[in-house]
Subunit: 238 residues, 2 copies
């Protein structure tokens, strides 16, 4: 049964799903839906996901969207996936749901609010919004502090004190990796104080190498492009 | 093994969990954490939920927060719960996760943004914020339109075309029920155009009667109290 992933590697939940499939030997076809070209608004893609967002998947005749739901589905429907990604134990599983639910209204909302308004908007021809970026950064920083002091407080290197990564590690780390397209001084200001998070990102990368680096290789050229667009915009407004 | 629910009946996800337990014959102790009295900021409650939010549960020595994670846990850990609440089938389950994930950034965000800034803030001694309420209402109305045209488009009366309710029906309907504390003209303006949603609320109520009405009986006196506080505030500012 064929699995199609409708993704844009610039989208952090898309990257989480791509890395998950590659790290678990799940075969798929990557269907690129380029947000910058507004391909998510096409009538064809609305048939896949009426919410017009990536990622979405089609597995045989089954359609699904929302990245956490997709990660859980892939971990459950493909028998080769190791238990640590999404444990069968009801309590371990419940804790992973708890992290993922928390993510929606905290880390994700903060990170998207910051990066979009500080950088990515410019690539879509929209003005940057320093006030909205500052609000996003506030929630982002509070979320990073909570990850460091609570979700990573256990003995193991991963969330919930686990010794191996779960889908929650992959989802949250890919979110934080979005900071790679920001100015390096800004990234250092936000992430620098969180040594435990920096180590956790490295541990998650190592646990999914070489796929993590392969899927994130898009970040560096995008960062350069955004830098260029920011310089152009500041020259035009000067 | 004892189950304790840390809840405030004014909190919509708290109500969903209370109704779920009662409708499924799950015994529990209700520990009231009154948000208006800032009891969620007590050091004792921080031991239960470091995020200082209701609902949270303690089941024996197991602690959990985030309402969707709690509903899934209760449906999985208590053997008497009927399959329709959280189906064992991987694809049916995936669709429920998809609705619940969508809920976070759409219906919930819109409903909370509207109701808090239009009404509830005043009970916490905070100023109402018409601009933020209008932004919330915009997202709330878009979410209601999407529920009506997409999530409720199937043959059955419940989300995803199901013939019996799932935890997603309960979670989303309790969210919409928060509109009961708003001025009735506002509630009618927002909900009136959505006949299918009004029927779905009734169907969900009937499927969980008399617990649905019992747990929501708090709404009417709170509405009167908020009305009173609004009159006082307008007299003071006049």
């Amino acid at each position: 049964m064929e699995l199609k992933l409708y993704v844009d590697r610039m989208s952090q939940p898309s990257r989480a799903i791509l890395i998950f499939c590659k790290a678990n030997g799940i075969e798929f076809e990557e269907v690129k839906i380029l947000l910058a070209k507004r391909q998510h608004h096409s009538p064809e893609f609305a048939e896949v996901n009426p919410m017009k967002q990536v990622p979405a998947i089609v597995h045989g005749d089954f359609k699904l969207f929302e990245s956490h739901a997709i990660l859980i589905y892939l971990a459950s429907a493909f028998p080769g996936v190791a238990d640590h990604w999404y444990p069968a134990d009801v309590r371990k599983r419940a804790k992973i749901h708890s992290v993922l639910d928390w993510h929606h209204s905290n880390l994700r909302r903060g990170a998207v609010g910051y990066i979009f308004n500080d950088s990515i908007a410019i690539a879509l021809g929209l003005p940057l919004n320093p006030k909205a970026a500052a609000e996003g950064e506030k929630l982002l920083s509070a979320s990073l502090a909570m990850i460091e002091s609570y979700w990573l407080e256990g003995h193991g290197p991963f969330l919930l004190g686990n010794s191996e990564p779960s889908i929650a590690d992959l989802s949250l780390v890919c979110e934080i990796m979005q900071l790679e397209v920001a100015d390096e001084n800004d990234r250092d200001r936000i992430l620098g104080p969180h040594k435990r998070i920096l180590k956790w990102i490295e541990d998650t990368k190592n646990a999914t190498s070489p796929y993590f680096e392969e899927i994130h290789s898009i970040m560096s050229p995008v960062k350069e492009k955004l830098k260029e667009l920011k310089v152009q915009a500041s020259q035009q407004s000067a």
